[in-house]
């Protein structure tokens, strides 16, 4: 039996937390079992002579307060420790490589920015932050890499993200950990962490059908988006935003919705907007956008999103949420 490897600095920090929890638990267990055994030995019926019964009826408030307070203090410490390690999951670094993951009964489809695709295998370079943008085509799945100590549910119809910086090269297992039907236990694969040179090599040797963004650009024309949306290169003319909002610079900008609240247009926003276009505040466009739900698959959406992101060249691939 091999002990589960730690493939990232985060994994090591989680193990420390788990060790802390284990030590505290062992201490409490020692106390509970210890007192139980001691009590049984000392106060066994017939074994003791005169039991001090005077104390029996009395409740001792000091005891109650003391152990409640001690428990609370320990709990609070644990809570803070664990929460602080969880929060980082919500803060992907800006320069992360973005990889699209689509779950489907019962396989993982992976798309790289360079247009490479894989099934049930994920290759990443060591030492660089990687951000997975994940969605599902059917039911809920869950992308889990124990060696990195991370996982996240993958939901149909929306993007979830998961990020990590692997520090150790090698192959590690990845699993689907949300029950998703008959093939659930077969929805597994491998994560391969390569060093920078090997990774570059690998990228070059995997056949790519043009980059993901290029594929998205083709789709942008083929699906008719360019008929309404300006994208600086195709008709309608780059400046014409009367038919529909321009896609240039949209990614990463602030959009004010009809109900008044503003959000940053991140990848998830683009993804959802293509499925059901949101209403902007004060929008008055010459057209109305049809829903592309059921028309475009998740892989198409990933490509489109990747393309739209390139239309905000000043920004890194994703500004987070």
């Amino acid at each position: 039996m091999s002990w589960l490897p730690e493939a990232s600095a985060h994994a090591a920090r989680i193990d420390l937390l788990l060790a802390g929890l284990t030590i505290i638990s062992l201490a409490v267990l020692g106390l509970v079992f210890g007192l139980m055994v001691l009590n049984v030995m000392r106060f066994r019926a017939g074994r003791t002579t005169a039991v001090a019964r005077a104390a029996a009826g009395h409740k001792n408030w000091w005891f109650e307060i003391a152990w409640t307070a001690a428990t609370l203090v320990i709990f609070f410490g644990l809570f803070l420790w664990a929460t602080q390690l969880y929060v980082v999951g919500f803060r992907p670094p800006a320069d992360a490589i973005q990889i699209y993951v689509t779950g489907k009964q019962w396989m993982w489809k992976i798309q790289y920015p360079g247009g490479q695709r894989e099934i049930n295998a994920l290759h990443v370079p060591a030492g660089r932050p990687v951000r997975l943008l994940m969605t599902s085509e059917d039911v809920i799945h869950d992308f889990s890499v124990p060696a990195l100590r991370i996982k996240h549910d993958v939901l149909p119809g929306r993007y979830q993200s998961l990020w990590f910086t692997a520090t150790r090269t090698g192959s590690f297992r990845l699993y689907c950990t949300q029950f998703c039907g008959v093939g659930h236990s077969r929805m597994t694969g491998t994560l391969t962490v390569l060093d920078a040179a090997d990774y570059a090599d690998w990228l070059n040797n995997v056949p790519a059908s043009g980059s993901l963004a290029m594929e998205g650009e083709a789709l942008f024309i083929r699906s008719g988006c360019s008929g309404c949306h300006a994208s600086s290169r195709y008709a309608p003319d780059a400046a014409d935003a009367s038919r529909a909002p321009s896609m240039v610079g949209l990614y990463g900008s602030r959009v004010v919705l009809a109900d008044g609240h503003a959000i940053v247009a991140d990848a998830a926003f683009l993804h959802d907007a293509i499925l059901d276009s949101p209403r902007r505040q004060g929008a008055s466009f010459a057209t109305e956008m049809p829903s592309f739900r059921g028309v475009l698959g998740e892989e198409d959406l990933a490509a489109l999103v990747a393309y739209l992101q390139t239309l905000s060249p000043a920004l890194p691939p994703d500004t987070g949420n």
């Binding site: 937390l17 929890l21 106060f43 152990w67 991370i150 008959v182």
Partner: protein, 541 residues
Amino acid sequence: MSASYLWQDGTLRSWLLTRDHKRIALLYLGSITAFFALGGIGAALIRLQLLEPAGTILSDATYNRVFTMHGVVMVWLFLVPSIPVTLGNFLVPLMLGARDLAFPRLNLVSWYLFVASGLLVLYGLFRGGLETGWTFYTPLSSDYSEGRVLPVVLGIFLNGFSSIATGVNFIVSIHQLRAPGMTWYRLPLMLWALYATSIIFVLATPVLGITLLLLAFERLFRVGVFDPTLGGDPLLFQQMFWFYSHPAVYIMILPGMGVVSEIVSTFCRKPVFGYRFVAWSSVSIAAIGFIVWGHHMFVAGESLYSAIVFSMFSFFVSVPSAIKVFNWLGTMHGGSIRLDAPMLYALGFIGLFTVGGLTGLFLASLAADVHLTQTYFVVAHFHYIMVGGMVSAYFGGLHYWWPKITGRMYPEIWGRLAAALIFFGFNLTFFPQFILGFEGMPRRYATYPAQFQVLNVLSSAGAGILAVAYVMPLVYFTWSLFRGARAPDNPWGATGLEWRTSSPPPVENFAETPVVTTDAYDYGDMDARTGVADAGGRHHV
């Protein structure tokens, strides 16, 4: 003295139409034992399958149906009802000094509802089966599943009404039917625990009901309540499901805590240390338990803010459990401890519940849960509490009150042997699963990577021992029904009102309404060394 409730009228009809809470308790006992056996067979199949990485006897599809059946049957048809409907039904009126529950007819109706719901669930599980897990996550359950979602879901819906009826009955009885002198702070802790349980029955179960109705509606008419491709929100289902199911896990532990309080006090001949703290901790577990449901969704896509809040509340809800554990240990201190079988079960409960609870803290810790969730660590966590804790308490309670229920003693040696064997077999079964979970083995896997085999084999071996250990009581209890020594009215020298009437009790429970003049667990005038009650004079019957 009039005839015992058991033999007064022996016709089948008189049993099936009885309004006597004691007989209804036995009807329930029979039904849930059958369901426990069924769920146990499911467990046996699971453990058999997992002996080999590639699986042994079941196809993937069958395996999924089996663990779903195991979970559904064990939770709704065995563990949720277990202590409340059997020991609870039997004891609530006796402990209150009343003749029956507040609504005897409703009580019978609730048993029929239970049986009907059980049959409906079984119909679904055996005519086609169900492969969604006991959690029915959408859209798998609403759209993709090929199993019999509808009958099972409707069965559980009915089951809910049975629970609600029991809850209403207990709460009203405890408010209305206390014997003269039985003030709130003189109630046995078992009743406080059942009171808290009933609150959850009444207030959480209907939410499950409506959730399941929505699910059924979506499945029948293909409308998008929860399915995103039809415009719904799949997380909403999880929110609503856990809004019930987290409180429900406290339904599955509070009654056990009540039983343990009774047993520990009796076998230490001491009042429970910190009675009021133990009493109120039950109520606060029930109350805080309503606001922690989000801890089942830390990786499901809930917001950072709610994850943090739910994690914090999960720690809070653990405090009253800690209070209980420490108070039980305090009760033992300075007592006069006897290690009869019920006490062995109670001690097993305290130890195993603590392990389960402490690992619950691992899961309540956000970053740790991300790694451990959906693995065997979770499976081990809840089996430690539900099987190691609650099932032990249930067995302990059955042994403790068996003389009262049947008028016969069970064989003590066998009782102790079974208790020890259960403890051993249990740990062998489920401890390896903590390690499996840490190593990353996902739950609900019909096949698994070969590196996990050693631990899985250990676990299966433990399950074999556990199965034998659980069948033992079944055998010797049956034996004792016919051959067991006659039980005295108060074999343990305990103080509760239920011990002040004959074993088994007469139909009307007490010849005359008892009057309560002392606090619960008043062992003041008992001899500490021999542990024999000299309280004979207080018998009213």
